[in-house]
Subunit: 320 residues, 4 copies
């Protein structure tokens, strides 16, 4: 099982279901040492009794069955490595990646936000939205009107024992051109992998994404112009990446999240001894993961960007 | 520049713009040796004179500018490593990956096909479509009526000097459960990276994809049932992957392709010496890459599946 | 900083100077889960005050200066990542690697032992020595007479405030032919890297090693013969590896350890502010690391062998 | 089979037994492009008929048997991937690595030379020897008297149908402190792996090497002093590397080569059908590989140093 992400900026996570943070190594007198920065989060609120029933039943659209098929064993107490709690390590690492990126690119900023919950679509100006706009409400959607509707919908869905999905968009500004590689390690390829490695994701779009399939080339192409003394594009359908390499424009992409698999409604399933059975979730469950996934999307994007920034630094022409 | 893909089944490509195939190493008396299987394709039809103009101008939505920004030099004669011709190495490697997968899983088959060109959407039964259905017409769309419309549209667009994009779907059948990993190297994550590493791709969806964002959990979840003595899912919104690991159902996903950047119409751009200029493509250019991209999608998927099949073999419980 | 070792059997260590073991993740109901097996060892006996003086002085032949030159910062309280305590993670991982190897190869065993301390050279029958012979005395040398002399010498050297080095040999038996790769990842190459990654090592020999340089080919070659129905070699100057791949014979190699750099005697050095100065070690220091290095050598060898066993399993011919 | 070496400066080799060089990709108008620089060498002098006999017999101390055991097939026409000809790719890559290192470190130089053939040991001043001294005679030993004796011995051994081994030393000067990593990827660990990946090598020593095992710490430690305004060591038993990281002193190491396995004398072996047999080499064979191995040692060292120089560049403090 590979638990490591990144080539030069490398993150390794461990653990199954955890909750509280402690720094174990890598910091000395308030500074990082270059040594592995280890943070441990203990889960002080594990409730294995909530999971007793699912010891013997495969939850629909969870990793229970496929995991069992692969490893021949699974920790049924909370989702194991497939638990969204695994992502806490990614968020911690992302925070450091962002610090490094800010050192390399003083104008660097990265903002992720919810643009859609179920059928509610927000209107957001991607080029001006700031993190403080995102953190204004609990649903992490900077369009106040849409946010209100999303909160209502999520509450209603919770009451009905059901769940909903949605879309998160992320934009990174202030990066130099030259990040990414032209063949297998294209910047968008590594971003896609990073995003699809987040639990519950089903899709990824860079720039114009699937909408690009319905636009003609003459309209889709991003023409170059001189602006502020720099080579810039007039439009940005490319999403800031051309041929796998950043072109200095905003990098932006969208991620699709499915509705969470854990619902209170009764569902059909089979037991580990292959008997037909039924199951309804007890214990904690979240009817919509979007708001909690926003910092994870941001973190994973930062990991990819930081890794490529370091890779570019290694080969960059010396006097530039 | 990383030119290698895969962890156990590893592919390394080289070269800029080539055309004809020759086996250089790795085969002895008609069998592979385990040594690097090297295939070289020489481009016997390079036309550098077609590219003369673009030596000094950045083509919109091509890799010219970002590549130059990264490496400080570029081969303007044909697109360099960003040329779609680089993908020939992937297709050759994919053919071998398919052979290996067929040895491991006798019922294995993989089929990719065009499901959309611009606004023409085909109707295809994903579970029954075969490669021979795909190869029936030049547009590689197994819906004959849609295929005819697609061909007309592509001809019209070519005449107008413009270009169009579309969507390719790919389905892999007959694989065992257990391929993929639960954290960073999820099967869908590696597929996403593989697909977004293909030139001109803008999006990726596994299973229900972006549509999943508008469906409730109670409807989206794939309930388990016993079928033919096996644990199966009733529906397959998961796309054959749960928690990063294959569950034995069909693996299917979609890839969005933008309209090709090279068009005969006049476009605004800047020169390498930062002067405003204009550009219209001369030389060969393809108004729609979808038909030619089908084998590349199939090949990249095979590379990912073969790599994970080998990884699973390394750790698989011995008596299974 | 790369803190990960191995391709399929992967070990990641963290931390600076630690001492007590706790299992954090990866075990459930007494079995490993396939998830990262995390063990944490807290140092309950750190004595930072012993290190106060060296905050401002570079210890000769320690990593202090080179580490500072690389990272611009160092944790002077105990050696940081260069501390031999880092190796505890390797020993823990090695124990698991040995378990896996025993599952794959029922006759597998691996034994390391001290063959030389300073000028005292032990006589040991490499083909019959067992771990219980090694653990008979504190110096981990299975030749009782030499062991006694070694212990005396180490005590004398300690009294004089000085230190001594020596040689550890390691032998692995019961492995199949076919482990290792023919080009860069030769089995002996990966063993050499593993050994030279242990603190205080200065040399590595596989099989006949440096002595091979003074023997003629006609005498050095390991002739093949049939023995017990198997293809075997009469001699084993190859050390069980030919062309980078194990041949089924005993794999054996030697590792040279320098005398520890920390000594109580006064030595010349410079301060971090580039002033000439002197230094004599206070605090704990070990006049000879050989006995404590034996399990580390064994563990690192097991990591390499297990990694290659897994790699071979992935590609092994199916019906064998 | 892994055919790739290095993390940032990556080399991939292919092919079995080849002889003539051609640049296939990566160069444009006399400059490298950043794309894979592919060089192909065709073997214009293959003599498969010389190998006919060994199709059915395992050559003693060759890779024939272990290779067959691993892959179930081998190319018996010339040694396959275990052929020393595989190293031509390494030498070509090493030449580029040296160019890059010279750009980063203007005083950089690397020199390898033969210090021992069988029992003839040369006297060489490691700190002053230059490549032109090495290239003075065919045996690549800069001690003229020893060189003469070596040449005589090699001729005599050839006449007797036998072979001899020896030792190559390599020294790299002019590198900055800070190359290498403190844990698994220690500079000496990567050098050890690189050297043991060269065919026919049996041992590696950095700095004082195995001799360190017989010296006390008080004598072995490299005391620091100020010299020319820089922190320097008085002695260099460390071989320029402390705690896995270069300290700015000369990096030097030794590599042991066994006598070549191919000899004209009659030897016992078994056939592929497990019959006892005999074998005497026909065809070309070299009684001593040392002179030809000198550029390979130099190249592999350059690959490791260049890779670590790039890795250090990626993380180096910005204003230094």
């Amino acid at each position: 099982m590979s638990n490591t992400f990144g080539q030069l900026f490398r993150v390794t996570t461990f653990g199954e279901s955890e909750d509280r943070c402690e720094i174990l190594s890598g910091v000395f007198e308030g500074k990082t040492l270059g040594t592995p920065l280890t943070m441990m989060v203990r889960n002080k609120d594990a409730r294995p009794e909530d999971y007793r029933e699912i010891a013997g039943k495969f939850r629909p659209s969870h990793a229970d069955y496929s995991y069992q098929a692969k490893y021949g064993i699974r920790n049924w107490q909370g989702g194991g490595r497939a638990s969204a709690r695994e992502t806490i390590g990614r968020v911690a690492a992302g925070a450091i990646a962002k610090k490094i990126l800010s050192t390399f690119y003083p104008d660097f900023e990265i903002v992720a936000y919810v643009t859609q919950v179920h059928d509610i679509v927000a209107k957001i100006d991607r080029s001006t939205v700031k993190m403080k706009d995102v953190e204004k409400d609990i649903v992490r959607c900077p369009d106040a009107i849409a946010a209100k509707k999303m909160i209502s919908l999520i509450e209603q869905v919770r009451d009905e024992g059901d769940s909903v999905g949605g879309v998160i968009e992320c934009v990174a500004r202030g990066l130099a051109p030259g990040l990414g590689e032209p063949v297998f390690d294209k910047l968008e390829a590594d971003l896609a992998k990073a995003m699809l490695s987040i639990p519950a994701t089903k899709g990824f779009e860079i720039g114009s994404g699937f909408a690009a399939t319905r636009v003609r080339g003459s309209k889709h192409n991003d023409e170059f112009e001189m602006r502020g003394g720099k080579i810039r594009t007039r439009t940005n359908n490319s999403g800031g990446v051309q041929g796998g390499i950043s072109n200095g424009e905003e990098i932006y992409f969208c991620v699709a999240f499915k509705p969470p698999a854990t619902i209170a409604l009764q569902q059909k399933t089979v037991t580990t001894s292959k008997q037909q059975s039924e199951l309804a979730a007890r214990g904690r469950h979240d009817p919509c993961v979007l708001p909690r996934a926003v910092p994870i999307v941001e973190a994973m994007a930062a990991l990819v960007l930081c890794d490529h920034a370091l890779r570019q630094r290694a080969i960059a022409i010396m006097d530039s």
